[in-house]
Amino acid sequence: MDKAKLKVGIQKYTMIIVLVLVMLFFTWGTEGKILLPQNITNLISQNAYVFVLATGMLLCILTGGNIDLSVGSVVCFVGAVGGVMMENMKLPIGIAVILMLILGALIGAWQAFWIAFLRIPPFIVTLSGMLVFRGLSNIVLGGKTLPIKSEMFVQLFGGGANCYVPDFLGSGEGLNMVAMGVGTIACVLFILMTVRGDLNRRKKGYETENPVAMYGKMIVICAVILFVTWKLAQHKGIPTSLVWVLLVVLVYGYITSKTTVGRYFYAVGGNEKATKLSGINTNMVYFIAYTNMGFLAALAGMLTIARMTSAQPTYGQNYEMDAIGSCFIGGASAYGGVGTVPGVIIGAVLMGIINQGMSIMGTDQNMQKVVKGLVLLAAVIFDVVSKKKSE
C-alpha cells in the first residue's frame, strides 16, 4: 500500500525530478552560468510565447490529443496586422491591442467551427490554417520587415532592452525592490491560501491532506518563487512579459482545475460518448478549445513583435512545435483527457532550459534539435508506458 503510494507519488512528480536533474546537469555543464540573473531573465522573456501557446495548446490536446498546427502562422499574422495597425494606420495602442485579440479569437473561431460542428479533423483544418495565415502574413507585410516603433507597446509586451516593471520601491541601485516585494507577497498569499483551505476542510469535516506533504509542497513552492524573484531582482527586475505569462498561467490554471468548463475538457478527452450522454455539449467544448487557441496565439503574437520590435513574415515558424512539445513533455496525454497547466509550464521550462543550457555550452544548433527531438519522444514513451502499466 505504502509502496504503491510512493510509486504514484514518484510518477506524479517525475517531470519535476527530471527538471531538477537537468538543471543540475547544466549548472555543472555551464559552470553555473545558467543560474546567472541575466540568464534566468532571458529564460523567461525568450520563452514567454511558449508558455502562452502551450497553455492554449493544452486545452486542444485535452479534448483528445488534438493539436493546432496553425498557431505559428497565426502568431505571425496577428503580429503583422497589429504592426500595420499601429505603424501604418497609427491606431492608438489600446485599440490596436484589443483588435488584435479579437482578430485572434475570430481566426480561432473560424477553425473551431469546422472542427467542432462539422468534425473535420483538427490536423487538416489547422494545417490549412498554417498555410493560409502564413500566406496572408506575407501579403499584409508585402514580404518586408515592419519595424515597431511604438515604445509603449514594446514596453508593455516586451522582452527588449528595457522592458521591466519599474522599480518604484527601490532606489534603482542593487536589488530590485519591486521584484523582491512581489515574490514575498506571492509567498505570503500562497501560504495563507494553503492554510485557509486546510482549516476550511477541517471545519467542514472533509478529509484533509497529509500535513507533511502539504507543508513540504508549500515550502518547496515558496522557495522556488523566492529564488526566481531574487534572481530577477539581481538583474533588472520583473520582465513585463512575465506579467502576461503569469496572468495566462493563473487564469487558465484556475479554469482547468476549478471550473466546470475546465472539467468538460478533461471529460471529452477521457470519453466523449460518456460525456455527451452526461448532458454536456461536446461540440461546444471543441469550439471553445480552438477559439481560445486563436485568442492566445494573438497574445503570443503581441509578445513576439514586441520582443523583436518588428513584424516579419517569417515570425512564428515552428512555434506550434514548441507548444505541442511542452504539453507532451509536461505530462499531457497524447490521447487526451490528461494534463495540467502547471505540468505544461514545467514542460516548457524544461525545453527552455535545455535550449539555453546547450546554447551557453556552445552545442551545435543542429545537435540541439536532435536532443530536443529525443526528449520529446522520451516524454511520450514514458506517458504511454506508464499508462499501460497502470491498466
Binding site: 500500500m1 476550511n200 476542510r201 467542514k204 472533509y206 478529509e207 476549478k258 471550473t259 466546470t260 468548463v261 472539467r263 478533461y266 471529460a267 477521457g270 470519453n271 460518448k273 460518456a274 460525456t275 455527451k276 450522454l277 452526461s278 448532458g279 454536456i280 455539449n281 496525454s333 483527457g337 490528461v338 499508462k387 497502470s390 491498466e391
Partner: protein, 518 residues
C-alpha cells in the same frame, strides 16, 4: 454412423470472477449442421472463441480434438489453417475496400511485394458465385446491403478453405428473405460435405436447418437433441434453455406503493442513424408509474437500447416521431442535457464505452452528470465534490481504497456502482437501467437489485432493460417484451413466465417469417 469431426472435451474457461464455461462437452459429426442455443451469456460465443483460438491454448482447460488430433491453437490463424473458420456476429469487413480485397485480406493472392489483382478478382468472383452473389467482386463493401455482406463473409470463409464453418448469430441483422436465403445456402453446403456450427436465438431457424441442437445454460451443456429422434419443437428447446430453478436471488420489495404515471411514450418511432429508411423502434407505446419497476425484455438487437437512448434526449437515431409525457405533460427533450433537466437518467449498458471516463477518478465520474450541484457560478467546490463521492461510495458499498482511484482500475461490479452513483446523484425521477447487471458477479448483482428497490421505495420509477429473463421476472412489476423494434407483448408480474416471454418473441417473429415464406 458418420465420422466425428470435432470433439470438445471438458472445456472450462474462467474469467476473473466468472466461470464462463464449466466442463462443456460437444461432439460434431462430419457433414452436419449443429446448432448451439442458449440464453445471452450462457457461454455459446465463449465456447466458439475457445475453439477458434481467440482464447489461446492454456487460457482454458480441456481438450479440443479435431480430425482425430488434439489441437492447441494459439491464434485464430492456426485454427484457420486447419479449416476452422468463424464468422462473428459483428461483420469484420472493411467498408471502403472491394469485395475481392476483403475476401483475401491477410491472405493476399500473388507475391508479398506484388499482389496479383487479376487472380484476386478472378478467384473472388468464383467464390462469391458459390454463395449466390451476382455482384462484381470489384464492388465496394459499403455499397452492398447487410445480407449480401453476410454472404461475403461466408465467401471469405470459403476462400480460406473452410472445412468447419462457425456462424455466430448469422441472421441477427438480416431481414426474413435474406435469412431464408442464408439458411438455404447452408443446407446446400451441407450437401457438398461442409460441416457447420450455428449459434442462433431464432429457434424456428434452428429447427429448420439443424441436424442436432446442443443446449447450453449457465456455462454447461445441458443436452443434445437429434433431428428425427428427439422432439425438435420450439417449446422443447425453450424448456431446455430456461429450465433452471429460480432460487431467492431477488430481494423482496414489500409495501412499495405504485402511484401515478411518471413517464409515458406514445407511438414512438426511431430510424437508424445511418440507414435512415430502417425503423429501429417501430411505433412503441409504453408507460411507467411512480414506484414501479418496468422490465423490458427481448433478445439482443430487439431495439431496446435504441428505444431507451432515443427517449433520453434523442441520443440515438434520426427521424424520431411520437410523443413523450412526463407526469402527464408533454415534453420535448432535445438532447441529453434536456433529459437530465427533466429528471430522466439513462444508465448505459456499455459502461466502458458510453458510461464512464476510465482514466478519471471515481470522484470526477460521480459528479459529471450534475456538476452544477457541486459548483457555484461555474467554479467547482472540490471538497464538496469529494464528500459527495464518498457519500455515494458508502451508500452503494463500492469497494475501492479511495474515491481518487481511477475507475479503470475497478472491477466490473464496482464500475457499475460508480455508474449508478453518477446517475443517482443527477437526482432523476425516472431511471432507465440498460442491462444493469451485465458482466458482474452474483453478489454485486444482488446489491444492485437492492439499490433498485431503494430507488422505487423513494418514489422513483425504474425502467429495466435486461436480456436475462430470470432477472426481468424477479425484479419487474410489469414486463414489456420487445422484438424487432416493436412491443410484442405486455405481461403483468403474475402472469409472466420465461416460456410466455419467449413465446411472445417467437410469435411476433414467426408471423413475419410465415409471411415471407408464403
Amino acid at each position: 454412423m458418420a465420422k466425428i469431426l470435432l470433439e470438445m472435451k471438458n472445456i472450462t474457461k474462467t474469467f476473473p470472477g466468472v466461470k464462463a464455461l464449466d466442463n462443456v462437452n460437444l461432439q460434431v459429426e462430419e457433414g452436419e449442421i449443429h446448432a448451439l442455443v442458449g440464453e445471452n451469456g450462457a457461454g455459446k460465443s465463449t465456447l466458439m472463441n475457445v475453439l477458434s483460438g481467440v482464447y489461446p491454448y492454456g487460457s482454458y482447460e480441456g481438450d479440443i480434438i479435431y480430425k482425430g488430433e488434439v489441437c492447441k491453437f494459439q491464434t485464430i490463424r492456426q485454427s484457420e489453417e486447419k479449416g476452422i473458420v468463424i464468422i462473428h456476429q459483428e461483420l469484420a469487413l472493411v467498408p471502403y475496400m472491394t469485395i475481392g480485397e476483403n475476401l483475401f485480406l491477410g491472405n493476399e493472392r500473388g507475391k508479398k511485394a506484388a499482389i496479383n489483382w487479376d487472380e484476386t478478382y478472378g478467384m473472388a468472383d468464383q467464390y462469391i458465385r458459390q454463395v449466390g452473389l451476382t455482384e462484381s467482386s470489384r464492388t465496394l463493401i459499403k455499397d452492398i446491403g447487410v445480407g449480401k455482406q453476410q454472404l461475403v463473409e461466408i465467401a471469405k470463409a470459403l476462400a480460406k478453405n473452410a472445412k468447419l464453418l462457425i456462424l455466430d448469430e448469422p441472421t441477427s441483422s438480416l431481414n426474413e428473405q435474406d435469412s431464408q436465403a442464408l439458411l438455404d445456402l447452408l443446407l446446400k453446403f451441407k450437401k457438398e460435405g461442409m460441416t457447420c456450427i450455428i449459434i442462433s436465438h431464432k429457434l424456428n431457424e434452428v429447427s429448420y436447418v439443424a441436424d442436432k441442437i446442443t443446449v447450453i445454460r449457465d456455462g454447461s451443456t445441458i443436452e443434445t437433441l437429434k433431428k428425427g429422434v428427439d422432439d425438435f419443437s420450439e417449446d422443447r428447446i425453450i424448456k431446455g434453455m430456461v429450465g433452471r430453478e429460480i432460487a431467492d436471488r431477488f430481494p423482496k420489495r414489500p409495501g412499495v406503493k405504485i402511484g401515478e404515471t411518471a413517464l409515458e411514450v406514445k407511438n414512438w418511432t426511431v430510424h437508424h442513424p445511418v440507414y435512415s429508411e430502417r425503423k429501429v423502434v417501430d411505433n412503441v407505446s409504453f408507460k411507467v408509474r411512480k414506484g414501479e419497476v418496468v422490465g423490458i425484455s427481448g433478445l439482443m438487437g430487439a431495439g431496446r437500447t435504441e428505444l431507451a437512448k432515443s427517449i433520453f434526449g434523442k441520443s440515438y437515431g434520426t427521424n424520431i416521431s411520437g410523443s413523450l409525457y412526463l407526469n402527464g405533460k408533454e415534453a420535448h427533450l432535445k438532447n441529453a442535457r434536456d433529459a437530465i433537466r427533466h429528471k430522466i437518467a439513462y444508465v448505459t449498458e456499455d459502461r466502458k464505452g458510453d458510461g464512464l471516463i476510465l482514466s478519471n477518478p471515481i470522484r470526477i465520474n460521480t459528479t459529471l452528470a450534475n456538476l452544477d450541484a457541486v459548483s457555484s457560478r461555474g467554479v467547482i467546490d472540490r471538497d464538496k465534490e469529494y464528500s459527495v463521492a464518498v457519500e455515494y461510495k458508502k451508500k452503494l458499498n463500492t469497494k475501492c481504497p479511495t474515491v481518487e482511484q481511477n475507475v479503470g482500475n475497478l472491477s466490473g461490479g464496482n464500475q457499475q456502482k460508480v455508474l449508478l452513483a453518477k446517475w443517482m446523484f443527477a437526482d432523476p425521477d425516472v431511471l432507465i437501467l440498460d442491462e444493469p447487471t451485465r458482466g458482474i458477479d452474483v453478489g454485486a448483482k444482488y446489491e444492485i437489485y437492492c439499490i433498485i428497490n431503494d430507488l422505487v421505495a423513494a418514489g422513483k420509477s425504474v425502467i429495466m432493460i435486461s436480456s436475462e429473463l430470470p432477472e426481468v421476472l424477479g425484479m419487474s412489476d410489469r414486463i414489456y417484451v420487445m422484438n424487432e423494434g416493436k412491443i410484442a407483448g405486455e405481461l403483468s408480474k403474475e402472469e409472466a413466465t420465461q416460456e410466455k416471454i419467449m413465446a411472445c418473441i417467437l410469435r411476433s417473429s414467426g408471423k413475419k417469417t410465415g409471411k415471407a415464406n408464403a
